[in-house]
Protein backbone atom coordinates (compact mmCIF):
# COMPACT_ATOMS: atom_id res chain seq x y z
CA UNK A 1 0.00 0.00 0.00
CA UNK A 2 2.81 2.39 0.94
CA UNK A 3 4.73 1.63 -2.26
CA UNK A 4 1.59 2.06 -4.37
CA UNK A 5 0.95 5.45 -2.73
CA UNK A 6 4.47 6.67 -3.45
CA UNK A 7 4.41 5.38 -7.03
CA UNK A 8 1.01 7.02 -7.56
CA UNK A 9 2.30 10.31 -6.16
CA UNK A 10 5.35 10.23 -8.44
CA UNK A 11 3.19 9.32 -11.45
CA UNK A 12 0.73 12.13 -10.83
CA UNK A 13 3.00 14.88 -9.53
CA UNK A 14 6.51 14.38 -10.89
CA UNK A 15 5.91 12.46 -14.14
CA UNK A 16 3.65 15.01 -15.91
CA UNK A 17 6.02 17.88 -15.11
CA UNK A 18 9.14 15.91 -16.09
CA UNK A 19 7.71 14.35 -19.25
CA UNK A 20 6.18 17.69 -20.21
CA UNK A 21 9.54 19.38 -19.74
CA UNK A 22 11.26 16.71 -21.83
CA UNK A 23 8.80 17.15 -24.71
CA UNK A 24 8.93 20.97 -24.49
CA UNK A 25 12.74 20.88 -24.43
CA UNK A 26 12.92 18.48 -27.41
CA UNK A 27 10.48 20.66 -29.36
CA UNK A 28 12.39 23.84 -28.56
CA UNK A 29 15.65 22.18 -29.63
CA UNK A 30 14.15 21.15 -32.95
CA UNK A 31 14.32 17.40 -32.24
CA UNK A 32 10.55 16.81 -32.42
CA UNK A 33 7.76 18.80 -34.07
CA UNK A 34 6.32 18.84 -37.57
CA UNK A 35 8.11 21.95 -38.84
CA UNK A 36 11.43 21.30 -37.13
CA UNK A 37 14.18 20.15 -39.44
CA UNK A 38 17.01 19.28 -37.08
CA UNK A 39 18.77 20.07 -33.84
CA UNK A 40 19.10 23.79 -33.33
CA UNK A 41 19.81 26.19 -30.49
CA UNK A 42 18.33 29.10 -32.39
CA UNK A 43 15.03 29.14 -30.47
CA UNK A 44 16.82 29.15 -27.15
CA UNK A 45 19.20 31.90 -28.18
CA UNK A 46 16.23 34.02 -29.36
CA UNK A 47 14.50 33.52 -26.01
CA UNK A 48 17.60 33.95 -23.81
CA UNK A 49 19.32 36.77 -25.67
CA UNK A 50 16.18 38.47 -26.99
CA UNK A 51 14.23 40.95 -24.93
CA UNK A 52 10.55 39.72 -25.05
CA UNK A 53 11.00 36.86 -22.57
CA UNK A 54 12.94 38.91 -20.02
CA UNK A 55 10.57 41.85 -20.53
CA UNK A 56 7.67 39.50 -19.68
CA UNK A 57 9.51 38.12 -16.64
CA UNK A 58 10.40 41.66 -15.48
CA UNK A 59 6.84 42.90 -16.02
CA UNK A 60 5.39 39.85 -14.20
CA UNK A 61 7.83 40.39 -11.32
CA UNK A 62 6.95 44.10 -11.19
CA UNK A 63 3.20 43.31 -11.09
CA UNK A 64 3.77 40.57 -8.49
CA UNK A 65 5.90 42.70 -6.15
CA UNK A 66 3.79 45.88 -6.43
CA UNK A 67 0.50 43.97 -6.03
CA UNK A 68 1.70 42.04 -2.98
CA UNK A 69 3.36 45.11 -1.40
CA UNK A 70 0.15 47.13 -1.72
CA UNK A 71 -1.93 44.20 -0.49
CA UNK A 72 0.34 43.83 2.54
CA UNK A 73 0.03 47.53 3.37
CA UNK A 74 -3.76 47.47 3.20
CA UNK A 75 -4.02 44.11 4.93
CA UNK A 76 -1.75 45.13 7.82
CA UNK A 77 -3.68 48.36 8.28
CA UNK A 78 -7.03 46.56 8.31
CA UNK A 79 -5.91 43.57 10.40
CA UNK A 80 -4.23 45.72 13.05
CA UNK A 81 -6.65 48.67 13.23
CA UNK A 82 -9.92 46.74 13.04
CA UNK A 83 -8.99 43.74 15.13
CA UNK A 84 -12.16 43.68 17.23
CA UNK A 85 -14.47 44.07 14.24
CA UNK A 86 -12.61 41.28 12.43
CA UNK A 87 -12.93 39.01 15.42
CA UNK A 88 -16.59 39.46 16.29
CA UNK A 89 -18.41 41.95 14.09
CA UNK A 90 -20.00 41.68 10.68
CA UNK A 91 -16.56 42.23 9.15
CA UNK A 92 -15.48 38.83 10.48
CA UNK A 93 -17.76 37.18 7.89
CA UNK A 94 -17.79 39.81 5.15
CA UNK A 95 -13.98 39.70 4.85
CA UNK A 96 -14.33 36.13 3.52
CA UNK A 97 -16.65 37.25 0.71
CA UNK A 98 -13.85 38.22 -1.76
CA UNK A 99 -12.48 34.67 -1.46
CA UNK A 100 -15.64 33.66 -3.37
CA UNK A 101 -14.51 35.63 -6.44
CA UNK A 102 -12.49 33.69 -9.02
CA UNK A 103 -9.82 35.61 -10.95
CA UNK A 104 -12.07 35.38 -14.03
CA UNK A 105 -14.88 37.21 -12.24
CA UNK A 106 -12.54 39.83 -10.78
CA UNK A 107 -10.96 40.39 -14.21
CA UNK A 108 -14.40 40.95 -15.74
CA UNK A 109 -15.45 43.18 -12.84
CA UNK A 110 -12.18 45.14 -13.08
CA UNK A 111 -12.73 45.69 -16.78
CA UNK A 112 -16.31 46.89 -16.26
CA UNK A 113 -15.16 49.27 -13.55
CA UNK A 114 -11.89 50.67 -14.91
CA UNK A 115 -12.22 50.73 -18.71
CA UNK A 116 -12.91 53.95 -20.59
CA UNK A 117 -16.59 53.05 -20.88
CA UNK A 118 -16.66 51.49 -17.41
CA UNK A 119 -18.57 52.38 -14.28
CA UNK A 120 -15.98 54.84 -12.89
CA UNK A 121 -15.82 56.69 -16.19
CA UNK A 122 -19.64 56.98 -16.18
CA UNK A 123 -19.57 58.29 -12.61
CA UNK A 124 -16.87 60.80 -13.61
CA UNK A 125 -18.99 61.95 -16.55
CA UNK A 126 -22.10 62.36 -14.39
CA UNK A 127 -20.13 64.30 -11.78
CA UNK A 128 -18.75 66.56 -14.51
CA UNK A 129 -15.13 65.52 -13.87
CA UNK A 130 -14.65 64.32 -17.45
CA UNK A 131 -16.44 65.63 -20.52
CA UNK A 132 -16.18 62.56 -22.74
CA UNK A 133 -15.21 58.94 -22.72
CA UNK A 134 -11.68 59.57 -24.00
CA UNK A 135 -10.86 61.98 -21.17
CA UNK A 136 -10.92 59.06 -18.75
CA UNK A 137 -7.36 57.80 -18.03
CA UNK A 138 -6.29 54.42 -19.43
CA UNK A 139 -6.56 52.13 -16.41
CA UNK A 140 -6.90 48.87 -18.33
CA UNK A 141 -4.73 47.53 -21.15
CA UNK A 142 -2.21 50.15 -20.01
CA UNK A 143 1.61 50.07 -20.07
CA UNK A 144 2.00 50.14 -16.28
CA UNK A 145 -0.43 47.32 -15.56
CA UNK A 146 -2.60 49.55 -13.35
CA UNK A 147 -5.72 47.49 -14.04
CA UNK A 148 -3.90 44.19 -13.40
CA UNK A 149 -2.35 45.48 -10.17
CA UNK A 150 -5.61 47.01 -8.87
CA UNK A 151 -7.57 43.82 -9.53
CA UNK A 152 -4.84 41.62 -8.04
CA UNK A 153 -4.73 43.80 -4.92
CA UNK A 154 -8.51 43.51 -4.48
CA UNK A 155 -8.22 39.74 -4.92
CA UNK A 156 -5.26 39.16 -2.58
CA UNK A 157 -5.79 41.69 0.24
CA UNK A 158 -8.63 39.83 2.03
CA UNK A 159 -6.48 36.70 2.11
CA UNK A 160 -3.70 38.54 3.94
CA UNK A 161 -6.20 40.24 6.28
CA UNK A 162 -7.46 36.82 7.37
CA UNK A 163 -3.92 35.45 7.56
CA UNK A 164 -2.67 38.31 9.76
CA UNK A 165 -5.78 38.21 11.95
CA UNK A 166 -5.22 34.48 12.53
CA UNK A 167 -1.47 34.94 13.11
CA UNK A 168 -2.13 37.73 15.61
CA UNK A 169 -4.03 35.24 17.73
CA UNK A 170 -1.97 32.09 17.21
CA UNK A 171 1.35 33.88 17.78
CA UNK A 172 -0.04 35.52 20.96
CA UNK A 173 1.13 38.95 19.82
CA UNK A 174 -1.05 40.76 22.38
CA UNK A 175 0.89 39.02 25.17
CA UNK A 176 4.24 40.10 23.69
CA UNK A 177 2.86 43.61 23.37
CA UNK A 178 1.81 43.67 27.01
CA UNK A 179 5.29 42.57 27.98
CA UNK A 180 6.85 45.26 25.79
CA UNK A 181 4.55 47.92 27.30
CA UNK A 182 5.65 46.82 30.78
CA UNK A 183 9.24 47.30 29.64
CA UNK A 184 8.40 50.83 28.50
CA UNK A 185 7.90 50.44 24.75
CA UNK A 186 6.06 53.25 22.92
CA UNK A 187 3.16 52.63 20.47
CA UNK A 188 5.48 53.07 17.49
CA UNK A 189 8.03 50.68 18.98
CA UNK A 190 5.28 48.14 19.62
CA UNK A 191 4.38 48.28 15.96
CA UNK A 192 7.79 48.11 14.32
CA UNK A 193 9.67 46.10 16.94
CA UNK A 194 7.02 43.60 18.05
CA UNK A 195 3.92 43.29 15.85
CA UNK A 196 5.30 43.79 12.34
CA UNK A 197 8.44 41.63 12.74
CA UNK A 198 6.42 38.70 14.11
CA UNK A 199 3.66 38.93 11.48
CA UNK A 200 6.02 39.42 8.53
CA UNK A 201 8.52 36.81 9.63
CA UNK A 202 5.82 34.19 10.19
CA UNK A 203 4.20 34.92 6.83
CA UNK A 204 7.43 35.48 4.84
CA UNK A 205 7.28 32.23 2.87
CA UNK A 206 3.57 32.67 2.14
CA UNK A 207 4.24 36.21 0.90
CA UNK A 208 6.99 34.91 -1.42
CA UNK A 209 4.68 32.18 -2.73
CA UNK A 210 2.02 34.79 -3.44
CA UNK A 211 4.45 36.89 -5.48
CA UNK A 212 4.99 33.80 -7.65
CA UNK A 213 1.23 33.17 -7.87
CA UNK A 214 0.57 36.72 -9.03
CA UNK A 215 3.50 36.52 -11.48
CA UNK A 216 1.96 33.43 -13.06
CA UNK A 217 -1.61 34.71 -13.10
CA UNK A 218 -3.36 34.34 -16.44
CA UNK A 219 -7.02 35.41 -16.43
CA UNK A 220 -6.50 38.95 -15.10
CA UNK A 221 -3.70 39.99 -17.51
CA UNK A 222 -5.50 38.24 -20.37
CA UNK A 223 -8.44 40.62 -19.97
CA UNK A 224 -6.78 43.69 -18.47
CA UNK A 225 -3.28 43.54 -19.95
CA UNK A 226 -2.02 44.64 -23.34
CA UNK A 227 0.14 43.20 -26.11
CA UNK A 228 3.39 44.66 -24.83
CA UNK A 229 4.60 44.18 -22.18
CA UNK A 230 2.76 40.93 -21.47
CA UNK A 231 2.80 38.82 -18.35
CA UNK A 232 4.65 35.53 -18.71
CA UNK A 233 1.65 33.15 -18.82
CA UNK A 234 -0.12 35.19 -21.48
CA UNK A 235 3.10 35.68 -23.50
CA UNK A 236 3.94 31.95 -23.44
CA UNK A 237 0.47 30.83 -24.42
CA UNK A 238 0.29 33.36 -27.21
CA UNK A 239 3.54 32.04 -28.70
CA UNK A 240 2.17 28.47 -28.60
CA UNK A 241 -1.23 29.39 -30.05
CA UNK A 242 -0.09 31.88 -32.72
CA UNK A 243 -0.90 31.34 -36.37
CA UNK A 244 2.83 31.42 -37.09
CA UNK A 245 3.83 27.83 -36.32
CA UNK A 246 7.52 28.77 -36.26
CA UNK A 247 6.86 30.59 -32.94
CA UNK A 248 5.83 27.39 -31.16
CA UNK A 249 9.39 26.19 -30.33
CA UNK A 250 10.09 29.59 -28.74
CA UNK A 251 6.89 29.26 -26.71
CA UNK A 252 8.10 25.89 -25.41
CA UNK A 253 11.55 27.32 -24.63
CA UNK A 254 9.84 30.12 -22.66
CA UNK A 255 7.72 27.60 -20.75
CA UNK A 256 10.77 25.46 -19.87
CA UNK A 257 12.76 28.50 -18.76
CA UNK A 258 9.90 29.77 -16.62
CA UNK A 259 9.49 26.35 -14.96
CA UNK A 260 13.24 26.32 -14.20
CA UNK A 261 13.05 29.83 -12.72
CA UNK A 262 10.11 28.85 -10.48
CA UNK A 263 11.79 25.60 -9.38
CA UNK A 264 15.01 27.53 -8.66
CA UNK A 265 13.06 30.06 -6.62
CA UNK A 266 11.34 27.25 -4.71
CA UNK A 267 14.69 25.66 -3.87
CA UNK A 268 16.09 28.99 -2.62
CA UNK A 269 12.93 29.50 -0.56
CA UNK A 270 13.30 25.99 0.85
CA UNK A 271 16.95 26.48 1.76
CA UNK A 272 16.26 29.82 3.42
CA UNK A 273 13.02 28.81 5.19
CA UNK A 274 13.45 25.21 6.17
CA UNK A 275 11.04 25.76 9.06
CA UNK A 276 8.23 26.45 6.64
CA UNK A 277 8.69 23.05 5.01
CA UNK A 278 9.87 21.32 8.19
CA UNK A 279 8.19 18.04 8.93
CA UNK A 280 5.83 18.08 11.86
CA UNK A 281 5.43 14.37 11.47
CA UNK A 282 8.85 12.95 12.32
CA UNK A 283 8.12 9.40 13.18
CA UNK A 284 10.36 6.48 13.85
Amino acid sequence: MKKISLIFFSAVVALPVCSGLVYASLYSLGIVGVLNSGVTLENWSIVIFGSPFWASIAFSLYVGIISISLSLLFALFIALSWRKALKNGMLSTVIYLPLCFPATVMAFFGFQMLSKSGFLSRLGFSAGIIDNLNSFPALVNDAYGIGIITTSVILVTPFFVILFTNLYQTEKISEYKELAITLGASKLELLHKVTLPILLKKSYATICLFVIFVMGSYEIPLLLGRQSPQMISVATLQKIQRFNLYDIPQGFAMAVLYVLIVVGFLLVLYLKNRNFFQAETHYK
Binding site: L6, V13, V17, Y23, Q112, Y258
Partner: protein, 258 residues
Protein backbone atom coordinates in the same frame (compact mmCIF):
# COMPACT_ATOMS: atom_id res chain seq x y z
CA UNK B 1 -14.32 57.92 11.58
CA UNK B 2 -13.17 54.33 12.16
CA UNK B 3 -16.77 53.09 11.98
CA UNK B 4 -17.36 55.05 8.77
CA UNK B 5 -14.23 53.56 7.18
CA UNK B 6 -15.39 50.08 8.17
CA UNK B 7 -18.84 50.65 6.68
CA UNK B 8 -17.25 51.93 3.46
CA UNK B 9 -14.97 48.88 3.39
CA UNK B 10 -17.91 46.48 3.85
CA UNK B 11 -19.81 48.28 1.08
CA UNK B 12 -16.79 48.03 -1.23
CA UNK B 13 -16.63 44.26 -0.61
CA UNK B 14 -20.35 43.78 -1.26
CA UNK B 15 -20.36 46.14 -4.26
CA UNK B 16 -18.95 43.68 -6.87
CA UNK B 17 -21.77 41.21 -6.14
CA UNK B 18 -24.44 43.91 -6.43
CA UNK B 19 -22.83 45.37 -9.57
CA UNK B 20 -22.58 42.00 -11.35
CA UNK B 21 -26.12 41.07 -10.33
CA UNK B 22 -27.44 44.37 -11.69
CA UNK B 23 -25.49 43.96 -14.92
CA UNK B 24 -26.83 40.41 -15.31
CA UNK B 25 -30.35 41.80 -15.09
CA UNK B 26 -29.61 44.62 -17.50
CA UNK B 27 -29.99 45.41 -21.20
CA UNK B 28 -28.88 48.46 -23.23
CA UNK B 29 -26.22 50.01 -21.00
CA UNK B 30 -25.16 52.87 -23.25
CA UNK B 31 -22.51 55.38 -22.23
CA UNK B 32 -22.79 57.57 -20.12
CA UNK B 33 -25.79 55.97 -18.32
CA UNK B 34 -24.85 54.78 -14.85
CA UNK B 35 -27.49 52.05 -14.88
CA UNK B 36 -28.69 49.90 -17.80
CA UNK B 37 -31.77 51.28 -19.56
CA UNK B 38 -33.68 48.03 -19.01
CA UNK B 39 -33.56 45.92 -15.88
CA UNK B 40 -35.55 42.69 -15.94
CA UNK B 41 -35.21 38.94 -15.49
CA UNK B 42 -35.05 38.14 -19.21
CA UNK B 43 -31.35 37.05 -19.08
CA UNK B 44 -32.06 34.79 -16.15
CA UNK B 45 -34.81 32.90 -18.00
CA UNK B 46 -32.16 30.38 -19.08
CA UNK B 47 -32.87 28.68 -15.76
CA UNK B 48 -36.07 27.28 -17.28
CA UNK B 49 -34.42 26.12 -20.53
CA UNK B 50 -32.39 22.95 -20.29
CA UNK B 51 -30.88 23.52 -23.77
CA UNK B 52 -29.44 26.91 -22.77
CA UNK B 53 -25.63 27.16 -23.07
CA UNK B 54 -25.31 28.64 -19.59
CA UNK B 55 -27.52 26.00 -18.07
CA UNK B 56 -25.27 23.32 -19.59
CA UNK B 57 -22.08 25.20 -18.64
CA UNK B 58 -23.22 25.34 -15.01
CA UNK B 59 -23.71 21.59 -14.83
CA UNK B 60 -20.52 20.81 -16.80
CA UNK B 61 -18.56 22.95 -14.30
CA UNK B 62 -20.34 21.32 -11.40
CA UNK B 63 -19.69 17.82 -12.76
CA UNK B 64 -15.98 18.47 -13.38
CA UNK B 65 -15.45 20.15 -10.01
CA UNK B 66 -17.26 17.40 -8.11
CA UNK B 67 -15.31 14.63 -9.89
CA UNK B 68 -11.94 16.35 -9.31
CA UNK B 69 -12.61 17.21 -5.68
CA UNK B 70 -13.93 13.74 -4.79
CA UNK B 71 -10.95 12.03 -6.49
CA UNK B 72 -8.36 14.32 -4.88
CA UNK B 73 -9.99 14.13 -1.43
CA UNK B 74 -10.17 10.33 -1.38
CA UNK B 75 -6.87 9.46 -3.06
CA UNK B 76 -5.00 12.35 -1.43
CA UNK B 77 -6.05 11.17 2.03
CA UNK B 78 -4.27 7.82 1.71
CA UNK B 79 -1.29 9.01 -0.35
CA UNK B 80 -0.62 11.96 1.99
CA UNK B 81 -0.62 9.64 5.00
CA UNK B 82 2.15 7.55 3.46
CA UNK B 83 4.14 10.66 2.53
CA UNK B 84 3.67 12.33 5.92
CA UNK B 85 5.44 9.49 7.72
CA UNK B 86 8.02 8.80 5.03
CA UNK B 87 11.64 9.71 5.74
CA UNK B 88 11.79 11.62 2.42
CA UNK B 89 8.69 13.63 3.33
CA UNK B 90 10.29 16.97 2.56
CA UNK B 91 11.40 15.85 -0.91
CA UNK B 92 7.82 14.83 -1.73
CA UNK B 93 6.57 18.10 -0.28
CA UNK B 94 8.91 20.14 -2.49
CA UNK B 95 7.78 18.08 -5.49
CA UNK B 96 4.15 18.80 -4.58
CA UNK B 97 4.90 22.52 -4.49
CA UNK B 98 6.13 22.62 -8.11
CA UNK B 99 2.77 22.10 -9.88
CA UNK B 100 1.08 24.06 -7.08
CA UNK B 101 3.32 27.07 -7.72
CA UNK B 102 3.41 26.94 -11.50
CA UNK B 103 0.67 28.70 -13.35
CA UNK B 104 -1.89 25.99 -14.35
CA UNK B 105 -1.84 27.29 -17.89
CA UNK B 106 1.95 26.81 -18.12
CA UNK B 107 1.45 23.27 -16.80
CA UNK B 108 -1.16 22.73 -19.51
CA UNK B 109 1.26 24.01 -22.16
CA UNK B 110 3.98 21.54 -21.21
CA UNK B 111 1.79 18.43 -20.92
CA UNK B 112 -0.75 19.24 -23.63
CA UNK B 113 1.10 17.05 -26.17
CA UNK B 114 0.38 13.90 -24.17
CA UNK B 115 -3.31 14.80 -24.03
CA UNK B 116 -3.32 15.25 -27.82
CA UNK B 117 -1.73 11.87 -28.61
CA UNK B 118 -4.04 10.07 -26.18
CA UNK B 119 -7.07 11.80 -27.67
CA UNK B 120 -8.00 13.44 -24.38
CA UNK B 121 -8.07 17.04 -25.57
CA UNK B 122 -11.53 18.47 -25.98
CA UNK B 123 -13.07 15.79 -23.76
CA UNK B 124 -14.75 15.91 -20.37
CA UNK B 125 -12.39 13.17 -19.11
CA UNK B 126 -9.33 15.06 -20.39
CA UNK B 127 -10.28 18.21 -18.47
CA UNK B 128 -10.91 16.16 -15.31
CA UNK B 129 -7.49 14.47 -15.60
CA UNK B 130 -5.71 17.77 -16.32
CA UNK B 131 -7.37 19.48 -13.36
CA UNK B 132 -6.61 16.48 -11.19
CA UNK B 133 -2.91 16.84 -12.04
CA UNK B 134 -2.83 20.40 -10.66
CA UNK B 135 -5.27 19.87 -7.79
CA UNK B 136 -3.79 16.65 -6.42
CA UNK B 137 -0.49 18.21 -5.20
CA UNK B 138 -2.55 20.93 -3.52
CA UNK B 139 -4.63 18.28 -1.77
CA UNK B 140 -1.42 16.62 -0.57
CA UNK B 141 -0.15 19.95 0.85
CA UNK B 142 -3.47 20.45 2.70
CA UNK B 143 -3.37 16.96 4.20
CA UNK B 144 0.33 17.18 5.13
CA UNK B 145 -0.62 20.01 7.51
CA UNK B 146 -2.97 17.59 9.21
CA UNK B 147 -1.00 14.38 9.78
CA UNK B 148 1.06 14.46 12.97
CA UNK B 149 2.66 12.11 15.48
CA UNK B 150 -0.27 12.39 17.88
CA UNK B 151 -2.65 11.09 15.23
CA UNK B 152 -0.25 8.27 14.37
CA UNK B 153 -0.04 7.31 18.05
CA UNK B 154 -3.83 7.23 18.38
CA UNK B 155 -4.02 5.01 15.29
CA UNK B 156 -1.39 2.65 16.73
CA UNK B 157 -3.14 2.57 20.08
CA UNK B 158 -6.32 1.44 18.37
CA UNK B 159 -4.39 -1.33 16.54
CA UNK B 160 -2.65 -2.39 19.77
CA UNK B 161 -6.00 -2.64 21.53
CA UNK B 162 -7.17 -5.14 18.93
CA UNK B 163 -8.89 -2.96 16.39
CA UNK B 164 -8.62 -4.10 12.78
CA UNK B 165 -7.25 -1.73 10.10
CA UNK B 166 -10.79 -1.11 8.82
CA UNK B 167 -12.16 -0.46 12.34
CA UNK B 168 -9.26 1.88 13.09
CA UNK B 169 -9.92 3.75 9.89
CA UNK B 170 -13.69 3.92 10.34
CA UNK B 171 -13.94 4.64 14.05
CA UNK B 172 -10.66 6.47 14.78
CA UNK B 173 -9.04 8.10 11.75
CA UNK B 174 -12.15 9.12 9.84
CA UNK B 175 -13.89 10.99 12.71
CA UNK B 176 -10.62 12.74 13.57
CA UNK B 177 -10.04 13.67 9.92
CA UNK B 178 -13.48 15.16 9.26
CA UNK B 179 -12.25 18.78 9.22
CA UNK B 180 -9.22 18.05 7.05
CA UNK B 181 -11.32 16.04 4.58
CA UNK B 182 -13.94 18.80 4.37
CA UNK B 183 -11.24 21.46 3.93
CA UNK B 184 -9.51 19.47 1.19
CA UNK B 185 -12.79 18.74 -0.63
CA UNK B 186 -13.97 22.35 -0.67
CA UNK B 187 -10.58 23.90 -1.43
CA UNK B 188 -10.07 21.54 -4.39
CA UNK B 189 -13.66 22.17 -5.51
CA UNK B 190 -12.90 25.90 -5.55
CA UNK B 191 -9.64 25.42 -7.50
CA UNK B 192 -11.48 23.38 -10.12
CA UNK B 193 -14.53 25.69 -10.15
CA UNK B 194 -12.32 28.79 -10.61
CA UNK B 195 -10.00 27.27 -13.25
CA UNK B 196 -9.94 28.80 -16.73
CA UNK B 197 -6.59 28.70 -18.62
CA UNK B 198 -5.88 24.98 -18.30
CA UNK B 199 -9.54 24.03 -18.90
CA UNK B 200 -9.69 26.13 -22.05
CA UNK B 201 -6.41 24.75 -23.41
CA UNK B 202 -7.04 21.05 -22.69
CA UNK B 203 -10.77 21.38 -23.38
CA UNK B 204 -9.91 23.21 -26.67
CA UNK B 205 -12.97 25.39 -26.10
CA UNK B 206 -15.29 22.38 -26.56
CA UNK B 207 -15.75 21.88 -22.83
CA UNK B 208 -17.64 25.03 -21.96
CA UNK B 209 -17.37 25.51 -18.25
CA UNK B 210 -18.65 28.70 -16.61
CA UNK B 211 -15.22 30.37 -16.61
CA UNK B 212 -14.79 29.54 -20.32
CA UNK B 213 -18.29 30.94 -20.91
CA UNK B 214 -17.39 34.25 -19.24
CA UNK B 215 -14.49 34.75 -21.65
CA UNK B 216 -16.58 33.60 -24.63
CA UNK B 217 -19.29 36.11 -23.76
CA UNK B 218 -16.68 38.85 -23.30
CA UNK B 219 -15.28 38.06 -26.78
CA UNK B 220 -18.85 38.16 -28.14
CA UNK B 221 -19.24 41.55 -26.36
CA UNK B 222 -22.25 40.16 -24.48
CA UNK B 223 -21.47 41.68 -21.08
CA UNK B 224 -24.91 40.88 -19.65
CA UNK B 225 -24.50 37.14 -20.15
CA UNK B 226 -20.88 37.39 -18.98
CA UNK B 227 -22.14 39.06 -15.78
CA UNK B 228 -24.75 36.34 -15.45
CA UNK B 229 -22.07 33.63 -15.77
CA UNK B 230 -20.02 35.52 -13.15
CA UNK B 231 -23.02 35.47 -10.76
CA UNK B 232 -23.31 31.71 -11.25
CA UNK B 233 -19.57 31.31 -10.62
CA UNK B 234 -19.80 33.17 -7.34
CA UNK B 235 -22.91 31.32 -6.15
CA UNK B 236 -21.45 27.97 -4.92
CA UNK B 237 -18.54 29.59 -3.03
CA UNK B 238 -21.05 31.92 -1.36
CA UNK B 239 -23.17 28.98 -0.28
CA UNK B 240 -20.00 27.41 1.08
CA UNK B 241 -19.19 30.63 2.92
CA UNK B 242 -22.67 30.55 4.44
CA UNK B 243 -22.19 26.93 5.57
CA UNK B 244 -18.72 27.34 7.06
CA UNK B 245 -16.39 30.25 6.43
CA UNK B 246 -13.30 28.44 7.71
CA UNK B 247 -13.54 26.05 4.73
CA UNK B 248 -12.87 29.01 2.42
CA UNK B 249 -9.42 29.68 3.77
CA UNK B 250 -6.30 27.58 3.67
CA UNK B 251 -2.72 28.56 4.32
CA UNK B 252 0.23 26.29 4.90
CA UNK B 253 1.11 25.79 8.56
CA UNK B 254 -2.34 26.99 9.59
CA UNK B 255 -3.81 25.63 12.78
CA UNK B 256 -7.30 25.19 11.36
CA UNK B 257 -6.89 21.48 10.76
CA UNK B 258 -5.78 20.21 14.08
Amino acid sequence: MKKLLQILFVLSIVFPVVFLLLLSLGRRWAYPNILPAEINFENWEFLQKSDSKLFQAFFISLGISLCVSILVTVIGFFVSKTIAFNKFRNVYLILAYVPYLLSPVIMAVIFQYYFIITGLTGTFLGVIIAQFLIAFPFGIIIYLNFWNTKLKSIEELSLTLGGSRWQTFKYVLLPLSKNAIALCFFQVFLISWFEYGLTNLIGTGKIRTLTVSVFNFVIEANIYYAALACCLLVLPPMILLYINKSLMFFVEKSKTLS
